[in-house]
């Protein structure tokens, strides 16, 4: 499995993605699915917009007092019989998980979907240390069998078609009739259910992520639809929660307010099927549940984002609304972004976590259409944050040389109106002449980025200001007409 970032080669990743008809079909499904359902359920909750402000304020408050809430959270986990492990880096987090697995004598580890686990490279870490890791989320299971990284943060196998999944299952699941029917999602789902059942019961350790950590009671909350997370954490002897610091909220009331936004923004459900609040290991009289409960708190760059222009990104609840609505994500899919987090949230988070020098394209790969911000339940100013990264990239001299020169020349001119007039006049004339009667140009020197894909509509030949000056000299435009053509209301 690829764990090192390929974000630096975003343009060629994108080309590959654009030329992949299977991927393009899958992305087409995505566009028609989630945004439509989201719009329906949002329209059905008049309080949605006001809740976005509430949710933003909850997270801002928590982040501004994160140290205090973390300490209270930890004390409450301990009180309910669990343990908290602090990890500064990805490596430290993986080591901690591995140590717990070793102490539990783990051979089989079941795992629910967790983006932070992807981020810290936990999968590879466990796989190379003799652990049989079983992904239990259907999408994650599919891409585990295909040895691929996820391409979306809530539907990790969105890029794979059912035909491909059928082939993958046939190759991976032995002991079954090789000619069995795997054409429909139902057949595939049933086979996965059967296969994974045995694993849940056999696993010594179950690993999940967390959508929220609640300071008030030391609980972790996961939000799922399949029930795999619950089986993972209930049936294994040890439950490990891997969660990044910013998952914290003060109270259940706070969590509930954000939960009202999460599923709606994400899959377009009013509420996910399972919202599970986990609190420590099984109680002495309980009949089931894990015997031990561990939380691995992952920093991995978060504390450095606090107090900076990147702090707002720590409000993110990983709902994926931004990528579901992003026309760039919709064109190239998640793998093109080259690391764990794709789409607009990835364009901001990736440079924060792996450095702008490794991901310089991502904040530029946006038209700033603003759809992501419009749908972000946490009101994260994504375009503004991408612009910050563009500023940083520009200041440190990244980007294409020709682009910088062209932009510099344009800005130089635009700050000098008289010179600007003169140059634009010549340009309008020149391009207009060059185009003749055709109206469009199919090739223009230095404009290859434009004309590679489309024609350049030709200028009319005279600039506005030129013609305006000419006409104003002839007919002074001072007085308003006596008989206005428009109806002026109040």
């Amino acid at each position: 499995m690829k764990t090192h970032p390929t974000s630096a080669t975003f343009p060629s990743n994108a080309s590959t993605a654009l030329a992949d008809p299977i991927l393009q079909r899958a992305l087409g499904n995505l566009k028609k699915g989630f945004p439509v359902k989201r719009a329906e359920v949002v329209a059905d909750l008049p309080e949605f917009e006001a809740l976005r402000d509430v949710a933003r304020d909850i997270k801002d408050h928590t982040l501004n007092h994160l140290d205090a809430y973390l300490e209270i959270y930890e004390a409450n986990v301990v009180q309910s019989g669990g343990q908290v492990h602090w990890a500064r880096t990805a490596e430290e987090a993986c080591e901690t998980v591995m140590t717990i697995c070793r102490d539990a004598g783990a051979r089989i580890v079941t795992k629910g979907k967790s983006m932070v686990a992807e981020e810290i490279g936990l999968n590879n870490y466990l796989d190379t240390r003799g652990i049989e890791r079983v992904e239990t989320d259907l999408g994650e299971y599919i891409i585990q069998l295909r040895d691929e990284p996820p391409s979306h943060i809530i539907v990790p196998a969105v890029h794979v078609t059912k035909e491909q999944i059928g082939e993958t299952f046939r190759a991976a699941h032995d002991g079954l009739d090789p000619n069995r029917d795997l054409t429909e999602p139902r057949d595939i789902t049933d086979e996965a259910r059967d296969r994974l059942r045995q694993k849940y019961f056999a696993a010594e350790v179950g690993i999940t992520g967390a959508n929220f950590l609640v300071a008030e009671n030391g609980s972790s909350i996961i939000v799922t639809n399949e029930g795999n997370g619950d089986l993972t954490q209930t049936l294994a002897k040890v439950h490990i929660v891997v969660a990044s610091l910013e998952k914290l909220v003060p109270t259940m009331e706070d969590a509930i307010a954000v939960l009202r936004l999460l599923a709606r923004s994400s899959t377009g459900q009013e509420f996910s099927v399972y919202t599970t609040v986990s609190n420590g290991p099984k109680r002495p009289a309980d009949l089931d549940g894990p015997e031990a409960y561990h939380v691995v708190l992952v920093d991995n760059g978060r504390t450095a984002m606090l107090g900076t222009e990147n702090q707002d990104m720590l409000r993110c609840i990983r709902c994926a609304a931004c990528m579901n609505h992003c026309p760039v994500y919709g064109a190239v899919g998640g793998h093109a972004y080259g690391w764990v987090y794709p789409g607009p949230m990835g364009a901001v988070l990736t440079p924060s976590l792996i450095g702008i020098e490794n991901s310089g394209h991502l904040p530029h790969a946006s038209t700033f259409c603003g759809h992501c911000e419009q749908v972000c339940p946490m009101k994260i100013p994504l375009t503004k944050m991408m612009r910050h990264y563009r500023n940083r990239a520009y200041a440190s001299g990244h980007g294409s040389k020709i682009g910088r020169i062209a932009l510099g020349a344009w800005s130089y001119l635009a700050a000098r109106p008289a010179l600007y007039r003169w140059v634009t006049k010549i340009a309008a004339r020149g391009l207009g002449w060059f185009a003749g009667r055709r109206g469009s140009l199919s090739r223009v020197p230095l404009a290859g980025g434009w004309t590679e894909m489309r024609d350049l509509p030709a200028p009319e030949g005279e600039t506005f200001m030129e013609r305006y000056d000419r006409e104003s000299r002839r007919k002074p435009r001072q007085e308003p007409r006596q008989e206005p053509q428009s109806g002026l209301g109040q």
Binding site: P11, A14, P327, V328, V332, H364, A365, T367, F368, C369, G370, H371, R387, Y389, R390, N391, Y394, G399, G403, L407, G408, W410, S411, Y412, L413, A414, A415, P417, Y420, T424, R437, G439, G449, W450, M453, R454, D455, L456, P457, P459, E460, T463, F464, M465, E466, R467, Y468, D469, R477, Q478, E479, P480, R481, E483, P484, Q485, S486, G487, L488, Q490
Partner: protein, 263 residues
Amino acid sequence: MSETHRQAAERPPIKVGLFVTCLVDLFRPSVGFAALELLEQAGCVVEAPAGQTCCGQPAYNSGDPKAARAVAQGLLDTFEGYDYVVAPSGSCAGMIRYHLVELFADDPEKQHRARHLGARTHELVSFLVDILGVTALSARFEGVVAYHDSCSGLRELDIKTQPRRLLAGVEGLVLKELKEPEVCCGFGGTFCVKYPQISDAMVSNKLRDIEDAGAGTVLAGDLGCLMNMAGKASRSGSKVEFRHIAEVLAGTDGTPAIGRPNR
């Protein structure tokens, strides 16, 4: 069409500074004149001050705030003294309205001026409808038309109903909605030259949506988006025509459509 002119006689006429935008200045002056016409029709005294160039957005969005400030400084000076500043572009109006303030964050005096300028700046169609209260225009246009919502206008300035309201009153015009009128066309300023292939995929989708809607003409409020879509249509041999909405509303659509040959 019956119109009433209820501007109080004693009130001095509204003085508007027209910011035509750099693209209109260079590529399609007729949009600027259409805007002028519409504003004058509505009773405004309009000037297009000579000092204007660009709003600074190319530099601002490319990570060069210093250059953007130098360009925007010109706006602060040029458009002082007008009741309103109006641009036939949601993107440039949005830049002036909301982003100059951020650009001058470190300079309280200029930031104050930027805030003052921003508060007076509007996109053309929303200015006509929301500020001047224009409800109908005596325009004619024969054809099936789709309106594309340019992103900045839609999301920064809330321009959605205003153009449709005015278009509904244009004689002969049949308005068809695209399936995805709010999806970006792939222009994105420098995006379209930095990532031409992605931009191409996006504009191709847009063109497909337009063709499916059966529109013969697409209107929008931003020349950047229009040039992108028209350029793609021209390259791919599509018959669809593209015009700025001001051309149709002002009835100055005698000019060939964007990127179309002179007849």
